[in-house]
């Protein structure tokens, strides 16, 4: 979509262009974001700035009068932050301008450019980045339009109209969802962790955040105590494994045993004692900790690592399919955004043109009216104003043309012919102080 004339510039790195060794040097603490934004708007051509910094990307979105100079300045800022030279960082940097930058922003906010397509965090992170810019006065009319009226709207639409984020794609999220479908809310649910290995720790951490009550059971009591202390969990003796299984709602098995520790015999007894109370068994160990035949017992729901990975894989494939649909939503919204942007530029451009011509006419009348009385000067002014109006009538009619593309080409022509700045053509929503001073170039 060339020539949209949106003076948005993006310079950044992401997981697609830079290894973590580079990205980690560019991350910014939330406390340091104000200083970073001030540094960006301190660059001469930059009027507005938003800094999006996550673990997978650092992107600088700016509105600038001179995109080439601004891009060079932003690259220097990033290189300085990374502690490397610009040429060294350049191979990892990408930049987009105009509608291409808007498209990129829309794709990022909609999670189409994420490492895990459809992950929900990126929209929140984008909102935080924009809010920080608003708070520190570095977001003005251009960025407000691109983020608030564009990116956030597109992301919401993608989420609403496609199934891109419907199903979880990580093994742990799939496991949590299976468990939730069996027992419902995790609050006050008892989760038994069998084995105190690294995988168990990961699972314990996930379930703890969901409000579950944890009990750890391990052949080596000391290791169980250590893990229980870490997560505020109870500890059960290995000899009481059967009782702990009867009491549990969810079991996460992840021992290092070479043979199944949760056998069909044991679980048959447990099932009998539970009297139909559903039990969710998540076996994330390799080799497996639960005998596969246990899955055949009624009211016991067994999911091993293969089953969890299979479902996660299916969901990933589903997301890839949905991503194509989401891309078309992005394109549709980009078209709508650009059209709206062009329309928005026409009104202020008409005013700018009128102000420009009337200003010249008035100045000339004043220059040539030395020594004439007030009545005569007023008559001359009226004639000049009338002439300007007549001369501008046809151009004004053409600018008000219904076809935004035709009108836009005229706007661009007028900008060049009369040096009317596109900034002057934007709605009067100045960004914050400090950056506002140097951006009003006027005509």
């Amino acid at each position: 979509m060339p020539g949209a004339n949106i003076d948005l510039l993006l310079v950044g790195v992401s997981h697609k262009t830079a290894p973590v060794a580079v990205r980690e040097r560019l991350t910014v603490d939330p406390e340091a974001i104000a200083a970073a934004l001030t540094e960006l708007t301190g660059l001469a051509p930059v009027r507005e700035a938003v800094m999006l910094a996550t673990c997978n990307r650092v992107e600088l979105y700016v509105a600038a009068d001179d995109a080439d100079r601004a891009a060079a300045g932003l690259a220097e800022v990033l290189a300085r932050r990374a502690g490397v030279g610009v040429p060294e960082l350049a191979e990892h940097l990408y930049q987009h301008r105009d509608s291409a930058a808007v498209r990129h922003l829309f794709r990022v906010a909609s999670s189409l450019d994420s490492l895990v397509v459809g992950e929900p965090q990126i929209l929140g992170q984008t909102k935080q980045a924009y809010d920080a810019a608003v708070q520190h006065g570095t977001a003005g009319a251009v960025l407000r339009a691109c983020f608030e009226e564009g990116a956030f709207r597109v992301a919401r639409r993608v989420r609403r109209e496609t199934a891109i984020a419907r199903n979880p794609v990580s093994v742990s999220s799939v496991a949590v969802d299976f468990a939730r479908q069996v027992v419902g809310d995790f609050a006050r649910r008892r989760v038994l962790i069998v084995g105190a290995g690294k995988m168990s720790e990961l699972a314990a951490r996930t379930l703890r955040t969901h409000g579950a009550t944890l009990t750890v059971i391990n052949r080596t009591r000391a290791r169980a105590d250590e893990m229980a202390k870490q997560f505020g969990a109870d500890v059960a003796d290995w000899e009481n494994l059967r009782g702990a299984l009867v009491a549990a709602d969810i079991v996460i098995a992840s021992t290092g045993a070479q043979r199944p520790v949760l056998t069909l015999d044991l679980l048959t007894q447990v099932r009998k004692a539970r009297r139909g109370r559903p039990l969710c068994l998540l076996d994330i160990a390799v080799p497996r900790d639960v005998e596969p035949a246990v899955g055949e017992l009624s009211d016991i729901y067994l999911y091993d690592i293969d089953a969890l990975q299979k479902v996660a894989g299916e969901h990933r494939a589903e997301r890839a399919e949905e991503a194509a649909e989401a891309e078309s939503v992005v394109e549709e919204e980009l078209g709508r955004f650009v059209k709206k942007w062009r329309n928005r530029q026409r009104g202020p451009m008409i005013s700018a043109l009128q102000t420009h011509f009337h200003g010249i006419a008035r100045a000339e009348v004043m220059r040539l009216s030395g020594g004439v009385d007030e009545k005569e000067r007023k008559a001359r002014l009226d004639i000049a104003e009338s002439l300007v109006k007549k001369l501008l009538h046809q151009p004004m009619t053409a600018l008000r043309d219904d076809d935004p593309d035709a009108a836009m080409s005229l706007v661009q022509a007028l900008q060049r012919l009369f040096s009317l700045s596109p900034v002057a053509a934007l709605p009067a929503e100045a960004p914050g102080e400090g950056s506002a001073d140097k951006k009003a170039t006027g005509s």
Partner: protein, 269 residues
Amino acid sequence: MSTLTWHAVGAYGIAAAIYLLHLVGLRRGAENAGRALLAIGVTLHFADIGVRCYHGSNPISSTPEAMSLVAFIVAAVYLLTSLRYQLTAAGAFVAPAVVALILLARLAPAEAPVQDGVTLPMMGRLGQAHILLATLGVAVFAFAAVLAVVYLFQDRSLKRKQLDRAVDRGTPLDTLDRLAHRCVSIGFPVFTLAIVTGAIWVARLGILHGQGTLRPEYLIAVGTWIAFAVLIIARVGAGWRGRRAAWLTLGGFGGTALVVAAYFIRHAV
């Protein structure tokens, strides 16, 4: 059928279509539309029952009227429950069942309100109380049966490791189990009172009018009561839950359905 009834059936019917499409995965995120239409259906149905009452056909005056009341209660209870719990899948069973019940009730041959050969004025307060309690009991058991069916579907999805179906269209097993138990716990005392009042009523009819013959549906009703009694005792006493409880709930409701069917057929014939 009156215009009001047709409109109620129409709203229920569209809600049923939406819920069914949601269940088979063709229309996602339609629960709000389904619920709104069901709410419209319930409102129109309530108005329909009110109008019929005004014209002398009160909900306990005949088996078809009682069936319409059962349909109304089931729809209303589902609507209220679905405001708190994610029960979209249950809607795919409730809405079509409600449509079927109303159509059966309203398309049954119209005749003077008769119950067991006894006209409404002859029923007395005991007979009316029996029919009202039985209707309420059947409605609550019907809702419990819907929950049991959803439980068994959800159980099958989870056993087959179909998270997509389970998460998107189902309700956690534990929630379904608890709700079904709550329904049975409410329905059982109501149904017990219905059985007791019915037994006394039939005995009186036998004495006063010589019409109190022992019919198969009486035995089925007692059998149903026993099934639900076993379920409650097993649940409270022995902690029975899950699939067994779901099947027993379905068995119990099957009994009540047979009783209603027997009355309906007798009425229609």
